[in-house]
């Protein structure tokens, strides 16, 4: 097995007394697509900044491509592509110029940068926009331009911090498609997200992060298997009744060994057979306003691990 490209051991980042990252360990293999999943403020972005060699760790060990970011920051960054949470394109320059100046930051010859810029504009589906002002682009286009910019140095590892936050569904799917292609080409991806569907789509393996520590690790399927049931029954009894009925269900179903989560707007019953549970409930004389049987998702894993919803 080849050496991992990212190794973090007991990584800690403190701001004064507050530990944004509190002892995180993980490894990412070459070509792997690895996710940090967690709510806002979990410490994902801080971890990303340390891996990106723009934030010095307080303690612990960190190796990127076998190098220490404290010593070899520029060398490590020469091998990274970074897509930050909020776009920081140069709005005073045109679309193509943004790629040109950024490519030069890596010490690449002008001719090579120009050639790659054109290839990447095609990859990012921004042909015809070369001379457009950055401000005139849509949110999805700006994001794709930022990704194109991150690829200008042909990076070994691509860091994506909340890549699709704030985009509409269509723009998200276009972006996922592009990222999927990169994955197929063997680029190592490290991404943070608080969207389950994104993590399930893009990550081979992920860690669930909360309050600066890792709660669980594995592939999406492994995590679901380990921390949830095959199916989930979601029932709603109306805002005024969820809590009361939920408590009753928790007693009844709990006796059957099923986990019940009572949320303000709905009640979740974890079971390998959701339909059967629904029958049981209706036989008990309860009439849910709506009911839905679905597969377990990472959302359920997170709820199980932290007792909280991911997106609040």
């Amino acid at each position: 097995m080849p050496a991992p490209v990212i190794v973090a051991r007991d990584l800690v980042k403190k701001y004064q007394d507050f530990a944004a990252v509190d002892g995180i360990s993980f490894e990412v293999a070459s070509g792997e697509s690895f996710g940090l999943l967690g709510p806002n403020g979990a410490g994902k972005s801080t971890t990303m900044r340390m891996v990106g060699a723009v934030s010095t760790r307080t303690s612990g060990e960190l190796g990127i491509l076998g190098l220490d970011p404290d010593v070899h920051g520029p060398e490590i960054r020469s091998q990274l592509g970074v897509v930050p949470q909020s776009d920081n394109l140069d709005t005073e320059l045109r679309v193509r110029e943004n790629l040109l100046v950024y490519g030069r930051y890596f010490g690449l010859p002008r001719k090579l940068v120009a050639q790659r810029a054109d290839e990447l504009l095609a990859f990012a589906q921004l042909e015809g926009k070369e001379k457009a002002r950055v401000d005139a682009l849509s949110g999805g286009m700006k994001r794709r331009l930022t990704i194109a910019r991150a690829l200008i140095n042909d990076p070994r590892i691509l860091l994506l911090d909340e890549p699709t936050t704030g985009l509409d569904p269509q723009a998200r799917h276009i972006l996922w498609d592009r990222l999927f292609r990169l994955k197929e080409q063997g680029t190592t991806l490290l991404l943070t997200t608080h969207y389950m569907d994104e993590a399930e789509q893009l990550c081979d393996r992920l860690v669930v992060v909360d309050k600066g520590t890792i709660m669980a690790e594995g592939s999406p399927a492994e995590l679901i298997r380990a921390h949830s049931t095959r199916e989930v029954l979601e029932v709603r009894f109306g805002s005024d009744h969820n809590a009361e009925v939920g408590a009753r269900l928790a007693r009844a179903q709990g006796a059957d060994g099923h986990r019940v989560e009572v949320l303000p707007d709905r009640v979740l019953i974890y079971s390998d057979n959701g339909e059967a549970e629904l029958v049981k409930i209706t036989e008990a004389g309860l009439r849910p306003v709506t009911s839905l049987v679905r597969r377990s998702s990472l959302e359920d894993v997170f709820l199980r691990l932290t007792g909280r919803s991911l997106v609040e």
Binding site: G52, E61, L65, D68, E75, S78, N88, D90, Y105, G107
Partner: protein, 281 residues
């Protein structure tokens, strides 16, 4: 297993790839800044030629008419008012460029359109970002100063053959003021009018009270300190020494140079420090 052996082919490739940026990174930033300035080349050139023309004519010819009429042809310092005031206008031009390029563009780079954060994610180091910005402003300043000096010669306002050294004096003055202002701007998280205040309570009084339009000696001694701390006064006096052989003791000339260089060193180092703190925390 040690996580940072540095032995792999990946590591070797990274070390090779980082070499150019370690060495030339600041210049890549300069390249970027100059490209940005190109979007307002028209303004730079027209302001670069237009304002010296206007100032030289209005003050050096217009105002000079009544000053010389009142004080005689050797109006001030034994030279005509035009010759007296021209080096001050030259140095002021450098201050103007500095107060444009080291304020809002810095705020822009850190916050409004964070291109500095973008650069910091590449192999460029924070100190190189600061250096690159300074280099680009030096280039723009030189363009403006050379244009200005050429017009001074046309107006007959630069009698000495070594008058062109006034360009260097002005450059030092502009950078001395500019790097310190850059340091200050870098510390701002938010602009709630501080930059306008700098313009109003530092740049404007400085350009008026630095022995520019009249000798500092006109003021009572208790107001002259304004000139002594002003980089513009030191740059102007220095430019006057070169331009028309203004007589001052040699130690004072050395003090001008030393003071300006000291400010540049302090301001530059301060800006670098804050850049490291803000971009690598």
């Amino acid at each position: 297993m040690n996580v940072t052996t540095g032995q792999s082919t990946d590591a070797a490739r990274a070390i090779a790839a980082g070499r150019r940026s370690r060495r030339w990174g600041a210049w890549y930033v300069t390249e970027h800044r100059l490209r940005m300035m190109r979007t307002y080349t028209g303004t730079v050139v027209i302001a670069g030629i237009g304002s010296p023309l206007l100032y030289l004519y209005a003050l050096g010819v217009g105002l000079a008419t009544i000053v010389d009429a009142n004080m005689g042809p050797d109006a001030v310092d034994g030279v005509s008012y035009l010759v007296f005031v021209a080096p001050a206008l030259l140095a002021t031009a450098a201050i103007t460029v500095a107060s444009e390029e080291f304020t809002y563009p810095i705020m822009l780079g850190y916050k409004w359109n964070p291109t500095f954060t973008g650069a910091a994610a590449s192999p460029i180091r924070p100190v190189q970002i600061v250096d690159g910005v300074v280099y680009s402003v030096i280039i723009r300043m030189l363009v403006n100063l050379v244009l200005f000096y050429a017009l001074m010669v046309l107006f007959g306002a630069a009698p000495s053959p070594v008058g062109f050294l006034g360009i260097v004096a002005s450059l030092l003055g502009g950078l001395a003021f500019g790097t310190v202002i850059m340091g200050y701007t870098s510390t701002l998280q938010e602009d709630t009018g501080q930059l306008a205040m700098v313009q109003r309570f530092i740049v404007l009084p400085m350009s008026l009270f630095s022995g520019t339009f009249f000798p500092l000696a006109v003021f009572p001694i208790y107001l002259q300190w304004i000139g002594w701390i002003s980089p513009l006064w030191h740059a102007t006096e220095l430019a006057r020494v070169f331009s028309y052989g203004y007589a001052e003791p040699i130690w004072l000339t050395l003090v001008h140079v030393a003071y300006l260089v000291a400010l540049i060193v302090i301001g530059w180092a301060w800006s670098r420090r804050i850049a490291v703190r803000r971009l690598n925390s």
